[in-house]
Structures are given as structure tokens and as C-alpha cells.
Symmetry: C2
Subunit: 330 residues, 2 copies
């Protein structure tokens, strides 16, 4: 028994020592951004300190597209929807004459683009409804397991930012609860968030279609209906947070103007708060885009960052490594 | 150091021994119901066993009114709404002539009752909107801190069932995540669930009004609008579970036909599942009501329990103690 206790104690002491000396965010370059993040976490977790926040209230919310995984040149979920239109076309003869489905099937992306948000929503609704919850989950899982990002030739779930995975782990190790709060479909994301980010389904907040409880062939199922329920984007993000989480985050991380209200709401709370935006500045390793981009537009938030104390994370400077599959660090 | 390790080990051994010998559900009477609950928990937590469920998927959902706290003779939230009408009347001169507000202000409960679900919803909507999220939370917290249940002369948050508090603790100690899934207002409940049940806001699912993100006096706030967003009752419960939790529960506990779809959905899943209903059979210690009750009607679910393997918890027989404030056990 004596030997066991000594071994146990050595393990405990060694782990603690290893933790203390270890770089908790190895893919983040040394500099003011990394320092600010670590300082924030140390301050809010320091018991008895002026900025202490109890673990229950350590809510951190992350946007998904462009914040945790690649969104360029097009949101993954939109590419999924486009593929679904092609796969489902035989069952929808009406699409041969109905826009923007006709254009999409003919590969006329200019006309698809010209159909605007209305056209895109029609495509999203039609491809995300008319099946049970279980069927939809299976379709998304299969698609994600077999389709690759156009530039990196890797699964989309591999095109996730290594510094952010480290940050999620670091926050959770410090008692934070990490949530995704994204304009993306809540059930689309849930197919990948647990394995990819360690974020469980109940900590994912997103957009949704209306669902109905039905008895189908004697089995109780949830059926996805062709009607938008909630759009968890822009001013919808604080609403999604209020409904799903019920507490104001103390840290929020986004990358575009669509995240501005979430970060505004977060940083306006009392006590220490941290708001961050990924600025995509690295065309070599990922992409460079901001104010005039067709996805992930970062414009107003960039202008207002200084005044509001929001941190702009410069991908090129602040991230030593972008992806786990990169051969070596810069 | 040696002494510290030995002390540490003794503490560990002692705690384990104490756990093993302890009655984990002391307010539950010995019998088939208690045995079934404990057997279920042991089976799904036994690593390598045929019924093992990993902790992430150990989702347990509880109805609130009549399942965790007293709902008789009237739902607490409805009493709150009635009180609010009286308090807010000076700011709403139109209520003097508008039903069912007029009747309520005149104490004519028969007319209020005759206004039916439509009238009740009007009262709920008017008293639950038109303020910020923070203002609403404060109002509910204050009301709960100052109003008492009619029979027991105790705060509503004291009129919670001791056996259920023990069950929540027991489930969490076994790696379960405990959720409330109630027809009650999500934000109304969040004002009391953490302190009363140890259930944090993000694990509360309920009905809601539409909320809007606004900038008010330069501050970003959420404003509650006079419009129903979602009714988390009956067939709405599995939908609420799908949206908020994203996983089918393995255990669900209710007390009325309003919980039937939730329990049907839960127990229809693969693997071991447990569905339970509190049957209010104890007029001496609490109340006795079921199929013809105006609140918490338990009728169809009672008929279908046997066929579906649902457990009917007989309050009189299965609960040794109902409330913590009871002087002694039966």
C-alpha cells in the first residue's frame, strides 16, 4: 500500500509540475494577443482575486465558420446543400424548371449567385427538411466523411484551426464551458462538433428549421419541416445565447461582422470580459479576406475594435501553426 | 510528506467505503420502484456491461411542475402572472375593460377560468414581455423570494420533492447530465433551478416568448416581446429536447399526460431506457389528483404505462418523505 501511495503522489506532483511549465497555447505566437488571453484566464480563475468568476459562469462562445474551421471560398454547409441538390434531383423533377435549382443543376453558378439570399435560403430549406432527425444526421455525417476542402484536399473536419483547438482545451481545463454560437445549422454542426472540438451537442447553438414530433411506422420520430425556425446570426446570436445558455458569456470569439452583436453583448457585461475576432490575413497558409469578402465579411467590427477593446487576432502574426496537418511551424 | 500521503489515502478509502454502504435515495421507500431506478443506473454505468452508456450520453430529463415542485392547486408561474397583473394594473388602464384582465382585477376567477387557454395565454404574454431579460429575472427572483405556497406556507422553492432532489444528486454522481424539460417558461424557471435543483441555466428547456437584441441607452440588452416563440409542452417536448440537447434522453421523468411524448420518445430509443411518472396519490402529505384534475392531468399515460414499461411512482407508497421541511419520516 505504501508503494501505491508514493506512486500516486509522484504522479500528482509530476502532472502539476508539467502543467506549470508547459506552453498551454503552443501554436500561438508570443505577443500581446497570447498574453492577453492567458492573463484573462488567470484573472477570472484566481480565487479571491478582484476578477474571479465562478466556474458555472465561465461561459465562452465561439463562432464556427471562419473562427474554428475554414469558411473560404464558401461555407461548408452551403457546399453540402449544393451537393444534396444534385443527389436529390431525380426525386425533384420540378427543379428542372425552378430557380435557383435549375441553374445549380446546370452548373450556372452566376445565376445561383444572382438569386441572392432568397435563393440560397430556398436551397438550404429544401435540402435540410423532409427527413427525420436521424436521417439528416446520417446524411451530414456521411457527407463530411467523404468530401474534401477544395484547396487543402483534406476533410472539412481536418481544416480546423490548431490554435483554436488548443484554446478550447485550455479554457475547459480552466473550468470554462465552451459553446459554439454560429449562423450555421444547429443539427448540421452537431454531426461534427463533439469529435472535432470536444463540444457536446447541448453546447451547440445555431440556426434551425421547424421540427415536428410524429409517430412514423409506430416509432416516435422528429421530422424536419420546410420552414425556418430561427436564424442564429448577427442580432440573432445574443438571442440564441439567451435562449440556449441563459447566461451572458465572459469570452466570445468570432471572425466577422456577423459576430459583432455577440461580442458587443459579451463585452458589455460587468466584470472582466474578452472579445476576439480572427482576422484572416494569411493567403499563404490559409486565406486573406475581410471587408469586401463574400463570406465572413469583417468590416464594421474591425473599425470598432479599438474603441471597444476587442482583440483582432492576426492569423499571420498570431498563429505559429494554422492546421494540424502542416508539416512544420513557421 | 509521508504522513500527508497516508492521510490522503485514508480519506479516499473512507469516502469510497462510505459511498458503498450509504443509502443513495434515503427518501425513497424500499420496493420495486427504488430497485428499478438503482438497477438502471448501475446497468448503464457498468463499464464493459451490455447496457453501458458513456457519460456524454447519460441524459436525464425532468419535467418541473408536479415532478420536481408542487403544481397544485395552480401552477406557480400562473400565480406569478396573476400577481403581476395586479401590480402592473396602474400602468395598464385598458385592462379595466379588457377580459380576462378585468375579471382578474375584480377577483372574478370564474370568468378568468371561462376565458380558457386563450385568456390564460393573453395574461402570460402581457406579464412576461415588455421588459429586458435582466428586469424579468429580477422580478421573478423577487416574487419567488416573497410569495408562499397556499397550503404549506413555504416559499415555492421549498415546496420541492426531497426524493427528487436525491435522485438528481444520485444521477449526477453517476455521470448523468440532468435537464429540466418543462412547459413552464424557460426564463421563469432559470431564476430558481440552479439554487434549488443544482441545474444550471443551459440545462433548462422550456417555453419562451420571442426576444430581440436592442441597444437601449447605449447598452446592448435583450427585450422580451409580446409574442409566443415556442411552447415546450406535449409534442413540443421532444422538439425542445432535439433543439436544446440534441440527444435523446435515456431517462425521463414526468407526472402528467403533457410529459407523455417526452417519455415515449425517450423509452423508444435503443438500449436501456427508463421512463417514470409521479402519481400524486397523497392528499395527506401533498395532493391527490390524476385523470380529472385541472392541473397535471394524468390519464392516457396511466393507461399506457404497463404496455410501455413506464414506471408509475406512487407518491404515497414510494416516497418516505415528500418535503425537506417535514418533521419526520412516515
Amino acid at each position: 500500500m505504501k508503494r501505491i501511495t508514493i506512486v500516486l503522489l509522484i504522479v500528482i506532483l509530476f502532472s502539476t509540475a508539467a502543467m506549470a511549465g508547459r506552453d498551454v497555447l503552443p501554436s500561438w505566437a508570443e505577443g500581446p494577443t497570447k498574453t492577453a488571453i492567458i492573463q484573462f484566464v488567470q484573472d477570472v480563475t484566481k480565487e479571491g482575486g478582484p476578477d474571479y468568476v465562478r466556474p458555472e459562469e465561465r461561459i465562452a462562445t465561439f463562432d464556427n465558420d471562419g473562427t474554428l474551421w475554414v469558411e473560404y471560398p464558401m461555407y461548408t454547409q452551403v457546399l453540402f446543400a449544393f451537393d444534396r441538390v444534385k443527389e436529390l434531383a431525380p426525386q425533384h423533377p420540378e427543379w428542372k424548371t425552378k430557380q435557383p435549382f435549375k441553374a445549380l443543376l446546370e452548373g450556372d453558378m452566376k445565376t445561383v449567385g444572382a438569386s441572392g439570399m432568397k435563393g440560397l435560403m430556398d436551397i438550404l430549406i429544401e435540402t435540410h427538411s423532409g427527413m427525420t432527425a436521424a436521417e439528416f444526421e446520417k446524411t451530414v455525417t456521411n457527407w463530411l466523411a467523404t468530401h474534401k476542402q477544395s484547396r487543402f484536399k483534406r476533410l472539412y473536419t481536418e481544416c480546423v484551426y490548431k490554435p483554436q483547438l488548443e484554446l478550447l482545451t485550455y479554457l475547459r481545463a480552466n473550468g470554462f464551458k465552451t459553446f459554439i454560437v454560429s449562423g450555421g445549422g444547429i443539427q448540421f454542426m452537431r454531426a461534427m462538433t463533439e469529435k472535432t472540438y470536444g463540444i457536446e451537442p447541448e453546447q451547440v447553438v445555431g440556426s434551425s428549421v421547424v421540427s415536428e414530433f410524429q409517430i412514423k411506422d409506430g416509432e416516435p420520430v422528429l421530422v424536419r419541416m420546410p420552414k425556418i425556425d430561427f436564424v442564429n446570426d448577427k442580432a440573432g446570436k445574443p438571442v440564441g445565447i439567451y435562449e440556449h445558455i441563459g447566461r451572458r458569456p465572459i469570452l466570445a470569439f468570432g471572425n466577422s461582422d456577423s459576430d459583432m452583436q455577440m461580442i458587443e453583448y459579451t463585452t458589455a457585461g460587468e466584470g472582466r470580459r474578452l472579445g476576439l475576432f480572427v482576422h484572416h490575413t494569411d493567403a499563404d497558409r490559409e486565406y486573406a479576406y475581410d471587408w469586401d469578402s463574400h463570406v465572413g465579411t469583417l468590416d464594421k467590427a474591425l473599425d470598432r475594435a479599438d474603441t471597444n477593446g476587442w482583440i483582432i487576432v492576426d492569423m499571420k502574426k498570431d498563429w505559429k501553426t494554422v492546421f494540424s496537418f502542416e508539416k512544420s511551424n513557421k
